[in-house]
């Protein structure tokens, strides 16, 4: 059983909407389980967090993590959908993966997503923005 099948069988009850492609696995996971999934991917099977992508969709704000299993070239991409667009909140994974610190700060900066238990949730890129626009990527989409 390879890493992907093993992962699916172990976490079958916690993941949904699987999309399986060559060396890519996308799936949806609830906010309550994201730390457990991260712990498994990062600490148990040795994945590296490449980055995370935020996107505003009709259903809410999505945070899509990209974990790379370098030994096999496989990508595991857990997706958390935040339905509360006015007050988007999600559990931070920075305490598990130090490398997620800037990635989460950028999403807080550009999308206004609050990461619960993030050790330093500050603006990363637009701190001194002269225009004073907050959450620029969401602002433009709403206008």
């Amino acid at each position: 059983m390879d890493n992907v099948d093993n992962f699916i069988s172990l976490h079958n009850s916690k993941i949904s909407k699987l999309i399986k492609k060559k060396k890519r696995l996308y799936f949806e996971v609830k906010n309550d389980y994201i730390r457990e999934i991260t712990d498994y991917l990062f600490n148990k099977i040795g994945c590296r967090l490449s980055t995370a992508t935020a996107q505003e969709t009709y259903n809410g704000i999505e945070v899509l993590y990209h974990f790379s299993h370098d030994e096999s070239g496989q990508y595991f991409c857990p997706r958390v959908v935040i339905t509360d667009k006015k007050n988007p909140e999600i559990n931070s994974i920075t305490l598990l993966v130090k490398g997620a610190e800037w990635i989460e700060r950028e999403m807080y900066d550009l999308w206004g997503i609050k990461f619960i238990d993030h050790p330093r949730l500050e603006l990363l890129l637009t701190k001194d923005n002269p225009a004073g626009i907050k959450q620029p990527l969401r602002f433009r989409r709403e206008s």
Partner: protein, 395 residues
Amino acid sequence: MSKNIIPVGPFHPLLEEAEYFTLKVDGEKVIGIDLDIGWMHRGHEFISETKTFTQSLYLVERICGICSTSHPLACVHAIEDIDNIDIPLRARYIRTLIGELERIHSHLLWIGLAGHFIGYDTLWMWAWKYREPVLQMFEIISGNRNHYGMMRVGGVAKDVDSSSIPKLYSILDDIASKMDMIAKAANDDPVLRSRLVGVGVLSHEDAVRFCAVGPTSRASGIPADVRKDDPSDAYDLVEFNTIVMKNGDVYDKLVVRVLETLESIKIVRQCLDMLKNINGPILNDVKEISPGEGIGRYEAPRGEVFHYIRSDGTNRPVRHKVRAPSYVNIPTFEASCIGIPIADALITLAAVDPCYCCTERSIKVVDSARQPTKIDLLKISREKTEYLRRQINGN
């Protein structure tokens, strides 16, 4: 002993790009570092969503002047990943050829800068002089010395002219002999070794914790290389070694880059051999991109460059995420700079080959309350090298 704060940047003579570090020092020792980025954020991800897929390639090519092939290459990989688009064999070799030439010129640029930072100005001038022929090769192949405009979804834009291949071989032979000389010089020089060994160590655990990539992680013993782990283009058809060291210091990062340059020369030669012998199309006609999402990555000179694209079936991406290698490598300063003397701070900061135009992707005003440092880090770094040189040479 007094605790002081040394601000470096955002505009400083030793920084090629706008960046801002706050070094907390206790006497001569660095005890803390705060990193402030965002001085060059240009909103590429948002702009890309207003462009067609082909226009996006030209846009991402301009994220960085050095990695001007890595970004479009990762971008086409992401678009091709949506529909599992295959590309012609000849195009695969041309993509690999361009990518490896970029690695050679990027590493030579870094070797030159590293030499300059520690007072080896001869190494700096040699490395930059021998980088010039690589740019000539680009000019012969693409017509441009930088921003080559070669990548297309489904292949490449221009073919390599068979009449130019003998000239490319000749230039490559010249570069190879000069690289051997630089590699030997770096290996044999006792001053260089004593100046860089044990400096700015990034442990294996910290490299894993910070999710470091590229030569920064390989110098710390992590054998990750996208070209081997998730091969695209012609990387599964050419032979090369992944260079991995174990100490994670600046010297190991230098060795990784020097040896990688030699490996890249090997790959370029194999690509030229194949291009001489095989013919065929260089571009598959891709009419449309289906709705879906795709991940593209490429081993840029600084490490994995990552692009994520989501398509809704139109000719534009609805989301385009870009993550450059320096974005994950720069935070490792928090681990590698603590406890080192100020004289080593500069070369340690430079050792990850940070690229800020890649890392950030709004224009910011400079806060007038921040004053540039009066401490000349470059001078201190060079004085330490000179001190070691005198000790070793006995004068």
